[in-house]
């Protein structure tokens, strides 16, 4: 076994050439690509870390803002609820007042209507009482009763005090139309003469007395001159009764109201 020195040196040179070529074509390029890729990955990783940090900061910031918004929202909701409560109470109070006023008005209206109805009822009752009394008295009235009434009337005229007698006298004298005697039935002649006598005693002329028959009087007799009336009739009593009854009922209604 020998060593060919030419081949030996050729192999050394071959090896050096190969090392040079591989350094240029292989190691340099590959290591450069690897290093650049590593640097790129590291840069990407750093960037990702930075972005992660920023994202975390942003998240914390948004969390903080969200908490603030929630707190503000809660506070606003509480305030709104409180305001709404106050407003509700105000509205309730206002509504209550309005209801009270309406009720008051209603009560007043009801009371008024009640009073009006009662008044109307009372007036009607009075009228009915008056009508019933009038009808009863009309049924009961007759000439005998009329005579008694006329006697009573003559007695009443005779027994008048001086003041009233003076008033009648003045009225009779000043009357231009004379004296009118009204009755429900015809007055008998004897009563007429007695009445003429009495009236003339008050200063009336002989023919100044006129006699009229008026069924509305029901029963009784009335003496009329200008501005003066002297009567004793059921109609008169009934009118007085109606006025008194109506007056009494109104007074009572006023007291109740």
């Amino acid at each position: 076994m020998h060593i060919d020195w030419f081949v030996f040196f050729a192999q050394v040179v071959n090896f050096l050439i190969l090392a040079f070529l591989l350094k240029f074509f292989l190691y340099g390029r590959i290591t450069k690509a690897m290093d650049e890729r590593e640097a790129k990955i590291a840069a990407t990783y750093d960037e990702a870390q930075t972005m992660k940090t920023h994202a975390r900061e942003a998240l914390e910031s948004y969390d903080h803002k969200l908490r603030d918004i929630q707190e503000k929202g809660d506070a606003m909701m509480q305030k709104a609820a409180s305001d709404a409560d106050v407003h509700r109470k105000e509205l309730m109070s206002k509504a209550r007042e309005e209801v009270d006023q309406i009720r008051l008005r209603w009560q007043e209206t009801v009371a008024r209507e009640k009073t009006s109805f009662l008044n109307h009822l009372r007036q009607r009752a009075g009228r009915e009482v008056y009508a019933a009394a009038s009808r009863v008295l009309k049924d009961l009235a007759n000439e005998d009763m009329e005579k008694s009434i006329m006697a009573l009337f003559i007695q009443m005229v005779k027994s008048m005090d001086d003041k009233e007698a003076a008033m009648i006298r003045d009225a009779v004298r000043q009357s231009a139309t004379g004296v009118i005697v009204q009755s429900a039935f015809d007055i008998p002649a004897d009563v007429r003469s007695e009445l003429n006598q009495i009236i003339r005693s008050y200063g009336a002329a002989q023919d100044a007395v006129q006699y009229e028959t008026m069924p509305e009087i029901v029963s009784g007799i009335e003496l009329r001159t200008d501005g003066y009336k002297l009567a004793w009739s059921l109609n008169d009593y009934l009118e007085t009764l109606e006025d008194s009854f109506s007056h009494a009922l109104q007074e009572e209604a006023k007291e109740k109201a």
Partner: protein
Amino acid sequence: MEIMTIDMISPDQVIFWQWKFITINATLIYTWLIMAILVVGSWLVTRNLSKDIRFSRWQNFLEVVVGGIRNEINEASHGCGDKYLPFIGTLFLFICLSNLLAIVPGYVAPTSSLTTTAALAVSVFFAVPIFGISSQGVGEYFKEYFRPTFIFFPFHVMGELSRTLALAVRLFGNIMSHEKVIAILLAVTPLFFPIVMQALGLLIGLIQAYIFSILAMVYIASATQAHEEKEETETNKA
């Protein structure tokens, strides 16, 4: 098909052309073939390198190979991988490809020639002081030969020579002997058994390439380490 007869020890003996002392034999031819494969393959793959996350499978393969070599060198040299990568990496790739191609019929590994292994060993022999001197300086480097005392100088020299010889002979002996074993087995039992031995040959070829290059790295690292250790100590003190 075989260009070597069974009685030929080295591909140096297969001479294609000769003029005076210039000899073109099988060793040189197959060396140039390997060189062509390595250089052209590297050029084809690295002409369109991607620096992005997506890249080709061939680029991935070369990155795995180069990255692996760089990591090994970094471990042995304490982080100076890129400085020794062209030398150590070329040693490994050349020897590895030279050995692995032995499964191709008609191919003879240049590393089965003592001339090639001696040339590679001598390259290492000269690379050690070159890297050592570039790292430590001439004086500092040669002082190592006289440590602990000048008496050790001949032993250091003998050590240098003997390890260079060992490098050359170890690689040559392993590859040559394996090729001879395969050739003899083919003659004796041509079925099945040679295939197993071929597979074993791939493993041996890979291991030998690794041993040769890692030993070279260790020698270079030992020559430069004293200086680097001193630098590290000064850096730590600072």
